[in-house]
């Protein structure tokens, strides 16, 4: 194994990690901060990718330009999902956790079914875009441009989310609603408004990542499944309640994955990620930076 291989692997791992972070950032808000399970996270990503794809096919909008549009569309979608489904799931007195898991799991299945119904199960790709297929090479290390941009978007998204949660009253209201949804009314907060906005924002972040992903990934109704578990592990590894944790979690997952692939057969790549998660929580039951 040459040094170049190792450096290239780590560089790719880092970029991939930031991408995992980008995919997880929406989840870090909904699952990590608001403490609501969203088993349909992968499917949110899937429709974001489809949205990007169709904007590209029908209006020839480059995914990069489409990103804000997709984010806006997903914002609406997320808020609607909250108001129509999740609102009732979080309200459930009996075993709220399971109700959340299974109502969103049901939603995931429905979304896949709808995607198959309307978009057919065909594999789609955005065939050419400004960034697609471009690569910069630094001293023999190849860095694909879409992933680089994805990494930048990830950093920006995490930064924005961090400021948003820690510097605004809305962020605090979100946390308060998570702590005791029944009590926020005591200080005049409308829990549904806050959570609907939270879901909208979370979904909008997924929208961003979907647009970036569409540049270089294939799209089909089940595509979300490839990312969902990693996104969950990323958020939990970083620790619930911490935006920075999810960011760090993504990077670690990417690097661990790359390292594992160097040491073990690549089909066992994921084992490295999972093992690191277990190791971390066995030592620190609240994840790396978690507050809850």
């Amino acid at each position: 194994m040459t040094a170049e291989t190792i450096i290239q692997s780590l560089a790719s791992g880092l970029l991939m990690g930031l991408l995992y972070g980008l995919i997880a950032v929406g989840l870090a808000l909904i699952f990590g901060l608001m403490d609501v399970v969203n088993f349909a996270h992968g499917e949110f990503l899937m429709i974001a990718m489809y949205a990007t794809f169709f904007l590209f096919v029908f209006f020839a909008i480059d995914p990069l330009l489409a990103a804000p549009l997709v984010a806006a569309a997903l914002f609406v979608f997320g808020a609607v999902v909250y108001l129509l489904i999740v609102r009732f799931a979080v309200r459930a007195k009996a075993n709220a956790g399971m109700v959340q898991i299974f109502s969103t799991f049901g939603l995931a299945i429905v979304m896949r079914g709808l995607a198959q119904y309307f978009f057919t199960p065909d594999y789609r790709s955005v065939t050419h875009s400004w960034l697609g297929g471009k690569t910069v090479s630094v001293a023999g290390i190849f860095l694909p441009v879409p992933q680089l941009v994805g990494a930048l978007v990830a950093i920006a998204a995490f930064g924005a989310l961090y400021l948003f949660i820690n510097r605004t009253d809305f962020g605090r209201a979100l946390e308060a609603t998570r702590e005791d949804a029944g009590a926020v009314a005591l200080v005049g907060i409308d829990k549904n408004k806050v959570f609907a906005l939270g879901w909208g924002l979370g979904a909008a972040l997924v929208g961003l990542s979907g647009a970036v992903m569409a540049i270089f990934f294939y799209i089909y109704p089940d595509v979300g499944a490839s990312f969902a578990l990693i996104a969950y592990v990323t958020v939990a590894l970083g620790g619930f309640g911490s935006v920075f944790g999810a960011f760090a979690g993504g990077i670690i997952v990417g690097l661990v994955e790359a390292t594992t692939a160097l040491l073990l057969p690549p089909s066992l790549k994921a084992v490295g990620i999972y093992a690191v998660y277990l190791l971390v929580v066995f030592i620190r039951p609240r994840g790396l930076f978690g507050s809850m």
Binding site: M98, I101, F102, A115, Q116, F240, V271, V281
Partner: protein, 326 residues
Amino acid sequence: MDTSFARSRRRDLIVAFCLAATAAVVPLFVKDVYVQNIMVLTLMWGALSQSWNILSGYCGQISLGHAMYFGIGAYTTALLFTKFGVLPWFGMLGGGIISAVLAMALGYPCFRLRGHYFVIATIVIAEIVLLLFHNWDWAGAAMGIDIPVRGDSWLKFQFTRSKLPYFYFALALACVAWFVTWWLEDSKWGYWWRAVKDNPDAAESLGVVVFNSKMGAAAVSAFLVAVGGSFYGQFVSYIDPESVMGFQFSLLMALPAVLGGIGTLWGPLLGAVILIPLTELTRSFIGGSGRGVDLIVYGGLIIAISLARPQGLVGLFSPRRKEAAR
């Protein structure tokens, strides 16, 4: 007061007996193998969900990795049989014991985790085991294990066409799982588990050793699920990692209990009786279109039921619940 409680316990037992007896004669009238197949699956999933319910429903340790025990049961039996000629009955027992031991070994580090950290740990551990099986050549790796079926035999627990033996085994398994739950529900363990689920700190202050309670629940639950897995392997007579350990099996194990009523005696069976025929029928009769309509129907129903009755469908039937709510 005391007697009314005893009476309702006895009533549960009588109802269960009547149901089991009725179920036992049904296949004598319903000869269609497709329908019988659905009945076998319903009973099996009912039993699995009932077993899952012990750890996750009663004791509150939500596991979405139970497919691992299911798979280990199936693999132990199949490997012992195909490699060493050990009869499946011993394989079943062996798989159960291995799973129970594994459950406790894993419980040791995992039960310190709370909430989502625990759930994700269960998913991830099951996923690791799945990947290991996927790459374990001796155990067939991705090729799986094709259990050779030579003819009808109770000894080897394999039957070419008849579903009846499988049906009665699944019925027995469901009965055992139900009875174990019934029995544990009104025992020290049953109370401890519910206490641990509701408030571990308070439980600890009342002399409940929280850790041991969780271990007990995990072992019982894993054992029964592994027996179910062994059965499934024999029933399908072919196993591969994806088809016995996939994540979807863990979800499917939880789903009947959640829809029927998590942490209740009747919930898992009720959920299975509704859910399994539904999934089978939607797939069979609208799945062939290739347009995903079956998914939309199935997913939609899951959303509807879990939102409309978060406490589970069982509340619609059980007078005891209503009493408690009074």
